[in-house]
């Protein structure tokens, strides 16, 4: 209550002497808690950072970095990160040289909260050692690097081009897959889709799946050969990427994965194909005529889960006879495999009587069969 009016009037620094207290006194801790709480509001952030510095909190916790006790050290690192103390970045980077996994994990998080260029550079300079030994879990590192946001993307790409360690490339690509892909990101991913490491190929494909093809041009047919990759999770990412990219020329190739030996790939292929709307009907029909029951069931399940079935049902009233007939045929197969719920639900809702009649006919045909 005392702070907010002063922060709003930007007079808090004039009254700073009111808030000075000896370290570790109750007042010191109370003010720290209040200020850390207020840090969550963007509008006061700069003033509060200055306050932390001028009230001696930064100096206090920087001294604690020299403690031999891991918990005291880690606590201090954490506090400096929460205080967004940019002047402390150099000292925090020194913490990355310890071999203690706990200290390193907290330090990486703290640096990712500060988000400065120096902080990112510090992490990247130590990345090979940190991942190689390993002194930090890859997911924890990826979470921290993702926190840096869009501003980290160019340095990450530059760094990725200088290092060939698969672990590093994997982390970088994973982080890039969590950002919106620009042309530089897209180019970097394309450079790695033929990497010898399957994990890197898969992650590069994940990145490419996020590309907005309306604003960024890239050769989407570069992804096609990966639909035949020997590793299942690469095929999975390839089919997902092509689905997200809405690359229509890939429909037939993706259809081949509806018969993949791996069920996750089959499911992903079915889901991806549902994104192409009526353009996928032919390929679904073709595969549904195969004997492979697992493939057929996977298709039916994905058609139902992605609501593609709604489009098929609406097509029963389409003026395009061909589309109507093909949609009917798919629904017939679904019904014969006991995937009838969308049909029954539609009958309950009774939106279009003509469609309702078609559905009843279909269900009766199925019962007679």
């Amino acid at each position: 209550a005392q702070f907010i009016p002063l922060l709003q009037n930007r007079t808090v620094l004039l009254k700073i002497n009111d808030f000075v207290s000896s370290p570790q006194s109750n007042k010191f801790q109370a003010i720290e808690e209040v200020l850390l709480d207020l840090m969550n509001e963007d509008r006061y952030r700069d003033e509060i950072r200055t306050l932390f510095y001028k009230l001696g909190y930064v100096a206090f916790y920087e001294k604690k970095l020299r403690s031999r006790n891991i918990i005291i050290r880690a606590s201090a690192v954490d506090k400096l990160g929460k205080m967004l103390s940019e002047p402390s970045v150099g000292k925090l980077i020194e913490m990355l040289k310890t071999k203690n996994t706990e200290t390193i994990a907290v330090t990486v998080r703290a640096l990712s909260k500060i988000k400065s260029t120096e902080a990112l550079k510090g992490i990247l300079d130590h990345l090979p050692t940190l991942l190689h030994e390993p002194l930090i879990a890859q997911k924890a590192m990826n979470t921290a690097l993702t926190s840096f946001g869009v501003s980290a993307v160019p340095p990450l790409i530059e760094y990725g081009r200088k290092h060939s360690d698969p672990r590093i490339l994997s982390s970088i690509l994973e982080v890039l897959s969590n950002t919106s892909a620009d042309s530089a990101v897209c180019l970097f991913a394309v450079e790695h889709i033929k990497h010898s490491d399957a994990d890197i190929r898969a992650k590069a494909l994940k990145v490419l799946g996020n590309v907005d093809t309306e604003s960024i041009a890239f050769e989407q047919n570069l992804v096609l050969p990966l639909l035949e990759d020997p590793v299942w999770f690469v095929r999975l990412q390839a089919v997902r990427a092509l689905g997200n990219l809405h690359y229509r020329k890939a429909i037939d190739f993706m259809g081949g994965l509806l018969l993949d030996q791996n069920w996750q790939v089959r499911d992903a292929a079915a889901t991806a194909l549902t994104k192409f709307g009526n353009d996928s009907i032919d390929i679904f029909l073709k595969i549904l005529k195969y004997r492979d029951l697992y493939a057929k069931e996977s298709i039916c399940e994905e058609i139902e889960k992605t609501n593609f079935s709604s489009m098929l049902i609406e097509n029963l009233a389409s003026e395009n006879r061909e589309i109507q007939a093909k949609s009917r045929e798919i629904l017939h197969v679904m019904h014969s495999l006991h995937f009838s719920t969308p049909l029954r639900e539609y009958l309950k809702r009774r939106k279009n009587e003509a469609i309702g009649q078609e559905i009843r006919l279909l269900i009766n045909e199925g019962s007679e069969a």
Binding site: I71, V77, E102, A105, A140, T143, T146, W263, E301, E304
Partner: protein, 474 residues
Amino acid sequence: MNEIVIALILLFNYFVGVHYGVVNLVYSILLTIALFVILRHIKRIKYSPIKDFSYSPETPPITLIIPAYNEKNVIIQTVESALSMNYPFFDVIIINDGSDDGTLETLIKTFKLNKIDVVYRNILKTAPVKGFYYNADIPHLMVIDKERRGKADALNCGINASRSPYFCSVDADSVLENDALIRLMAPVMESTVPVVACGGVVRILNGVKVEEGVVKEIELPKSSLAMFQIVEYLRAFLFGRVGWNFMDAILILSGTFSLFHKASVIAVGGYHVKHVSEDMEMIVKLHRFHLKNKKPYKIKFISDPICWSEVPESLKMLGRQRRRWHLGLIQSIVEHRRLILNPKYGKLGLLIFPYYLFFEMLGPIVELLGYIVVPLSYYFGLLNTDYFLLFLILAIFYGVFLSTIGVFLEEITYRRYPKWSHLFKLLTYGVFENLGYRQINSFWRFQAIIKYLFGRRQWEYIEEKGTNQNNKKK
């Protein structure tokens, strides 16, 4: 002849003394370790990455698998609690394991579920599935109806249906705290060694006020039996498991609330349907598989994620539960007897498994006979007063000390029972726990041994009455 008999009786008396001495020594070591570890853990929680992970895209998806058999009175509360998790990517699968009390109908009605068509991949072979139920407005909830074959089979069914890399088994009469999942997952994400299983703390729901699946007010139960179990659980979780975890020697994670890496569970063949206590069996299998194949792994216990669960409030039901637990222990030890004193399995084979065999599994025989033979021996002048006092100290008073320390440990760390009256009541029950309650537990565990020897190895069903009277429904 009389001299031989007396000698044997005296030998047995000393054996009882040694047994209690060793057991109390182990518990003391666990307690000492736990004191340090928990106090340090409390400090570490302050800079825990939970908040960062709770909105990170790196946080792996989890499926909460909740097997349910005749849980009509409590299932809605459990599901509401599960759906309210503060976790970025999760789904909930309830498996109705052939209930005949309307559990499925209650779920369908409450959550307005419709039957849907799903491809069920029977990777771990289970009893036939009868249907899947789903509401598009609650997309991360699914109910599976299947034929009854027990909890292990229901869990396997949930694993088959899950699409997440991790699953968390939760009992149907449990309420999870809002951040329980993220607290359970955070150490998994931070570990540089793959964590294949991670357990949290189970606390007693009896007496606790729950509203719409959220714990609102923590009170102690009125039932004495539930109070004894609170003390027992505090001891077991806050120092037993913490201590074992520090030594990397976790052999049991509570099936009420534990996280597993799905692929690892599938690799060991899923849950064993013939075991009455599937949770320990799973942990032993995971240990064995990874040690045998020399794969790096960890099995962890964390003391801050909390699941509140109901406990029996009648002697009959409690007896069933404890017999089942002990029977499960026996089954696991017998099934995996090759581990005992086998150096190929390192610490597990040379220390942990033998401890569980001699002191946990066979312990009830020594304890129960000790409670009878030692006092009688003293009465008939076979033992001197000093020895009898020693027996009392080891068998009873040291147990009082351990129980009360468990309560104090709770008080100085998590302090989930906020009132001073709670502390006094828990301490009182900590004392009395060792004057009857522990002894009857020994008797039930002894019964389990007899049942095992005579081939009666079935699951004893415990009725859930929804005893939490303070629940408020929507």
